[in-house]
């Protein structure tokens, strides 16, 4: 089979034919797929939300799934028709799906969302952040009440690194300035290009790390890489049970670079009834950081199913 050598002569002339064939392939598949997915009970098939149904989305990390389950089940208890769209990806993706109406409710973190919408925005207080976010949001979207529960990004170092460079609980990100060039930092792939990521760490604290290793959004990959010293510093969520378990040291953030990160539902308000909004706000009001950390640890450490954990807590709080 030596076709490639022979084909190069006339390949360009016939690219058009192949393109036509490809278009036909796409059209045909579109036909196949809609034939196959008419059964309606397939949560993965539909792109556009069905009228009257609330689609609760989540990002690709465990706490996001848990929060989506909390909000979704609370809605369901009030008789709202709920479907879930879990593990979508990073905020860069989910925000697009919120805008085009594929997702109605998404658990967000107010300050992180603001940093995504406006990299230069100052973050003075949680309320101010909410107002700033609302001003920047697409007009079909809004934020509901922020919960007192907070889960920030943080730069944490592992125990060995803390010992080597004498970093303690009271050390700050500024203390990393001279050390950073010796350290490999890890985080989700999107951390590399976000303002609340490498960019901001350099412009706010002057930190230039040796290199960046793309892991996951504060999940098991990141925890393992930090614990095994593959990376010496990493983007770790402050509610992460691994911080206590592995002895990671969370560096203080005096410039409030990571801003506020209160759990806040991002919603398409036009697609929600007043009753539904009230149900979501009730969940946010009852949730606090300590509770969130406990629920996270039930999922990540005790390996309980997030949906069971969510239902049990909602029940104990009388929300369902």
């Amino acid at each position: 089979m030596t076709f490639t050598a022979r084909s190069s002569r006339s390949r360009t002339r016939h690219t058009g034919a192949a393109a036509v064939a490809l278009a036909a392939a796409a059209a045909l598949l579109a036909g196949c797929s809609s034939d196959g997915t008419d059964d309606g009970d397939d949560p993965l098939a539909g792109e556009k939300a069905e009228a009257g149904t609330v689609v609760v989305g989540s990002n690709n990390f465990a706490e996001s799934t848990l929060l989506a389950d909390l909000y979704g089940e609370a809605l369901r208890a009030k008789g709202v028709k709920v479907t879930y769209k879990h593990n979508i990806g990073s905020r860069e993706t989910t925000y697009g799906l919120m805008k085009n109406g594929s997702v109605t409710v998404l658990p967000e973190y107010n300050g992180s969302l603001l940093a995504y919408l406006d990299a230069k925005a100052e973050q003075k207080s949680a309320d101010a952040v909410d107002e700033a976010v609302k001003a920047k949001l697409d007009k079909s979207l809004t934020l509901l009440d922020s919960s007192p529960a907070e889960n920030k990004d943080s730069v944490s170092v592992n125990a060995a690194t803390a010992k080597k460079y004498e970093l303690t609980e009271s050390s700050t990100l500024a203390d990393l300035k001279d050390i950073a060039p010796d350290l490999v930092i890890g985080g989700s792939p999107e951390f590399q290009t976000r303002q609340q990521g490498l960019k901001g760490l350099e412009s706010v604290y002057g930190l230039k790390f040796k290199s960046f290793k793309a892991l996951d959004a504060g999940g098991p990959l990141t925890q393992a890489a930090l614990a095994k010293n593959t990376v010496q510093a990493a983007d770790i969520f402050t509610t992460d049970p691994a911080i206590d378990k592995e002895g990671f040291v969370v560096l203080k953030d005096p410039e409030n670079f990571f801003g506020f990160a209160n759990v806040t539902p991002l919603v398409r308000e036009g697609d929600l009834s007043e009753k539904a909004v009230a149900a979501l706000n009730a969940v946010s009001a009852k949730l606090d950081t300590e509770t969130l950390r406990d629920l996270d640890s039930q999922v990540q450490t005790d390996k309980k199913d997030p949906l069971d954990v969510a239902k049990a807590w909602l029940q104990s709080e009388g929300l369902i």
Binding site: M1, P189, P220, K228
Partner: protein, 221 residues
């Protein structure tokens, strides 16, 4: 043609050309993973294929093993081994080798077995030892087909090595995975272009190797 715009933007951004995340470094990593995997797969597939092809025994066992190996999902294997063994090169090498051994093995076996028996018998009649029959008669005749098996394996490796990025390793897949999470199509398309170019370069190299290594008498057939 927005895809072409992405390609253009990706390659003309000077930030993509240096540092630990620069194109030269990622390309080198990708080539390293690919060569290592191809080398390991060839070290397994070639001797076994030559030997079984020469003796003509074990064809059914080989076919079964090849089917089983093909059935193992590369991506699943990668994640599974990465969870079990951590994030070094091993989780990437195992799926790539599993992917590459069947084409090399099966093609080598078929190539040696389908060599015209007349010259082989003639060689034996001349008193050649079995090893000389294999290496001086069967191997040269079977070489074009053996190379096609290696080529097929190499291309699959180059294209599949991108999954290494999912378990935090480097290579050109880095651009694709990062681009996905950063919503940066420039990176995705740029990375995919680099992989495709690398695959086509591999094809060209095998074509050249065939011209160089295959004896003119065999090539004319």
């Amino acid at each position: 043609m927005n895809v072409l715009n992405f390609v253009d933007a990706f390659f003309s951004d000077s930030a993509h050309w240096h540092g630990y995340d620069g194109i030269p470094r990622r390309l080198l990593e990708h080539v390293q993973y690919s060569l290592l995997a191809l080398g390991l797969a060839a070290a397994i597939g070639l001797p076994v294929g030559l030997l079984t092809g020469h003796t003509g025994r074990g064809g059914n066992v080989l076919a079964f093993l090849a089917t089983a190996a093909r059935a193992l999902p590369s991506f699943g294997l990668l994640v599974l081994i990465a969870i079990a063994l951590g994030f070094n090169l091993l989780p990437v090498m195992i799926p790539l080798v599993v992917l590459a051994v069947p084409p090399i093995l099966v093609t080598t076996y078929e190539a040696v077995r389908s060599v015209d028996p007349a010259p082989v018998d003639a060689a034996r009649g001349m008193g050649m030892r079995e090893s000389r029959v294999l290496f001086q008669v069967e191997l040269p005749v079977a070489l074009p087909l053996i190379l096609s098996g290696l080529r097929s394996a190499a291309i699959q490796i180059v294209s599949t090595a991108t999954i290494a990025a999912y378990v935090s390793l480097g290579g050109l897949g880095r651009y694709i995975v990062d681009g996905l999470y950063q919503r940066d199509y420039e990176k995705v398309v740029g990375g995919a272009t680099l992989v495709a170019v690398l695959a086509l370069t591999t094809l060209a190299l095998f074509w050249a190797a065939g011209r160089f290594a295959v004896s003119p008498g065999v090539r004319r057939r």
